[in-house]
Amino acid sequence: MISIEKLSKTFGNHQVLKDINLEIPLGQVVAIIGPSGSGKSTLLRCVNLLEIPTGGKITIENECITDPKCKVSSLREKVGMVFQHFHLFPHMTVKENVMYAPIKVKGISREEAGKHADELLKSVGLEDKADAYPSKLSGGQKQRAAIARTLAMEPKVLLFDEPTSALDPEMVKEVLDVIKNLAHTGITMLVVTHEMGFAREVADRVLFLDEGQIVEDGLPLNFFTQPKSTRAKQFLEKVL
């Protein structure tokens, strides 16, 4: 379970997140949507401390990660992140990308990590690209490889930061399909996305952020058919 209390984040004079309160139960799939600059990505990045919150408290599985005593690297073993621009390690093959962290962080043997990597690459449909370098992959393949790399650490929480925004339209589906397969397997997922169809179909819950605040929080069906706030209405009119 993730619990966020009074979270705020300021860059210079600009307050990006204002007093965010949120409880996310284990295994829930949450879509975070909202206009650009609304603080969606910052909220996500606070959850694995890529951004250090200015104020407030974040607790993951009873461990307060905003406590200075918290070991950041052990938190990050539990919380995986998939980035908009993939960030695969370009000097390693796809398989090495997937194997590196389990070997170096978890201390798993090369053999075992290799076996696990093969399974993961198969599950994202990249078994034939295991020995290719990232520069030889398409955008969709890169993102699927990046997802496999994140899964190799067996995280309890998965953060997706606009995972399909940098892709050509014809590659969006193959990545969304992989994410869909992960949903409701017990892993808690926070997905910042502009794919409204995906949010509606896959998410258990939709958060609508605007100007650093959670404006709406509810079931996808309710949000998309009867948004309560005018801001959400205006936003949906533009994107749907």
Partner: protein
Amino acid sequence: MLNYNEFVTALPFIAGGALITLKYTILSVFFGLILGTLLALAKMTSFPLVSWLSSAYTSLFRGTPLLVQLMLVYYAIPEFTGYKISAFEAGILAFSLNSAAYISEIIRAGIQAVDKGQMEAALSLGIKYRLTMQHIILPQAIKNILPALVNEVINLLKESSLISVLGEADLLRRANIVAAEKFIYFEPLIIAALLYYLMVMVLAWFASLLEKRMQRSD
């Protein structure tokens, strides 16, 4: 015009100085690389005092002439410490300290040119900072660093001729010795210039080879 006989007789003696020039260059680059790497890491830490000190170091050594630094090391150290420093030690010390300043900038720029997302991706996988630097960031930064580093070696090779003012028998000093003995300047100095040029060309060729190799893996 060039006297062929003088040229040929002076050549072996002066060419022997090339070895001394190379010795200074190689040792100074070696120590400069170690110190420069530490300085570059210091510049990128989150401790303000450490990064400030490292920047101040670079600023001082880039902002004063190498000849002044060399003389300070050679003449001021014995004055303050009583230790009689040899020309060799003074040369290596001054050249290393100086090249470390330049090398630290080359390394810092090379590391910071690596996409910030690489660091974030590694950290988000729980990989420790030191391992991230060692296995993720530096292998990518090397591509930016190596060609610039070869240029620094070329600079140092040429600048090492300053050691001749302390009487060390490098290329330039040997040319001057021949000049003083035989009252001819043109032939010995041309020999020195040619040999410097030859060494620089070999390095430049090596640099372009490196650059091509680096691009190939993109």
